[in-house]
Symmetry: C2
Subunit: 266 residues, 2 copies
Amino acid sequence: MDLDLRKLRYFVAVAEHLSFGRAAEALHIAQPVLSRQIRAFEAELKVQLFDRSSKGTSLTPAGTQLLADARPLLAQASALLRRVGVADTFTVGFMPGLIVTPAVRVLTSRHPGLRVEVLRTTWEDQVEVIHDGRVDVGYVRLPVPAAGLSIMPLFSEPRVAVVPATHRLAGKESVLDADLSGERRVQHTDPPGFRSVEEKLEHVAMHGGVAVLPLSTAVFYSRDDLVHVPIEDIAPNEVALAWASHRHTPLIAEFAEIVTEIARQV
Amino acid sequence: MDLDLRKLRYFVAVAEHLSFGRAAEALHIAQPVLSRQIRAFEAELKVQLFDRSSKGTSLTPAGTQLLADARPLLAQASALLRRVGVADTFTVGFMPGLIVTPAVRVLTSRHPGLRVEVLRTTWEDQVEVIHDGRVDVGYVRLPVPAAGLSIMPLFSEPRVAVVPATHRLAGKESVLDADLSGERRVQHTDPPGFRSVEEKLEHVAMHGGVAVLPLSTAVFYSRDDLVHVPIEDIAPNEVALAWASHRHTPLIAEFAEIVTEIARQV
DNA sequence: CCAGGTCCATACCTCCAGGGTATGACAGAC
DNA sequence: GTCTGTCATACCCTGGAGGTATGGACCTGG
């Protein structure tokens, strides 16, 4: 009568791996158990979710439909648990260009049983995901509204101007803010369709203009047809680790410690 | 490790009844079982959800918080099940002023085990809730976008003009559309804050103007300081029962039959 | 002050769902 | 053919969710 979130999670695992064996391994259960659970799930829903063959497994249309529904539901359930202080997974948010892998790897190695996930954020939701519990901790770019957040500054990095390779500024060692006057600037306050970094860069490549991005972001999304030059006289972008200040879990503290440790080594 | 939706549903039941005994009765389980389940749930979450005393039960702050999170999650889970064709509950949507009780009562009497719920809709979401599975079937006011819907017309009713009791049109037997020219009309295309019927009527009562509503809506929301007069020369409002045409469940068919039967008797 | 009623909690039982292991059936690769 | 990778079947064991019977705490009326 009630939906079983465990079975739903198992289903998602199989749908993502398209293999009962590998999914079972990822879930840390035996393959026959997973087989039986999925069969039981299909029986409950009275819908076939997978086409099995001896070589591989594929989703049925109903399965594809369910997969789309399943992920947000599981995310919402996970966020609920996080809000009441139960850690079923530890989730790290990050803005485009920021590297979270080293810290995540250290955390997983210290807690082998813990599921650690990452969630890429945008300017719009980098703080929201912290408050609503979708992430435990987030790498954010300042400034952010400080209300209810604990913020631990990590480092600063210069901002660069991203322009087409054919642009008049393309060869320069560096530019001044004044050099950009008269250029159409693609900003994150633009309407939808220009919001993601990819979209901004696409617009710059196609229609000219200039995008001002933190260095790491420009490097991460570098394209052959675009180049970036440092802007000298603009405030550097500050990167920080942030979490909801009302949640003082040991895992958050430990992750913050790991991050500072890594930042110190660089 | 996974959230247990059954326990969450039990929790909501206790939170709503503020009594283990009555909640258990509503859930059709024995009271000690419910007690134990809630205790286990609290242990899993490591949070106390209720303050128990021999006279009554009350929510803790954590419980209040969880209750707010629990309802949308359960609704989303229920919608997911409905989309894959599993009926855990049968939910009927209805626009303000429409009476669903008789049909619902017949349905529950014929299916004693079935949970039947109702959801009040607005102009904005009366169709959306059908498509996304929040309701199985909805009483809607035409016109609606017909794509993907099966629509069964029920009846027509005149529209009335709702005006302050002191208005120049207040005493009339009926008015013509032309009589309303020059009046500020409060419409459902207005910005937020004027969307719900209550808000429209509040606006009419405070600032004058006129709201044009179907008769049953005006009657349902009647207030001392407002009166309504029929408009003669305006197209009547048609009320219909609608459901997603790709879902041909026996329950929907039966409900439609019940509704036609009731409509025939009136 | 005790009797009864109204709560929720505890104790104890049963049963089934979910976990495990061992093994089978089937298909493609060599 | 045999080998290998895939999913399914058979069997067992444990824990959790359901039940009933009963206890303990607290109010309330006589």
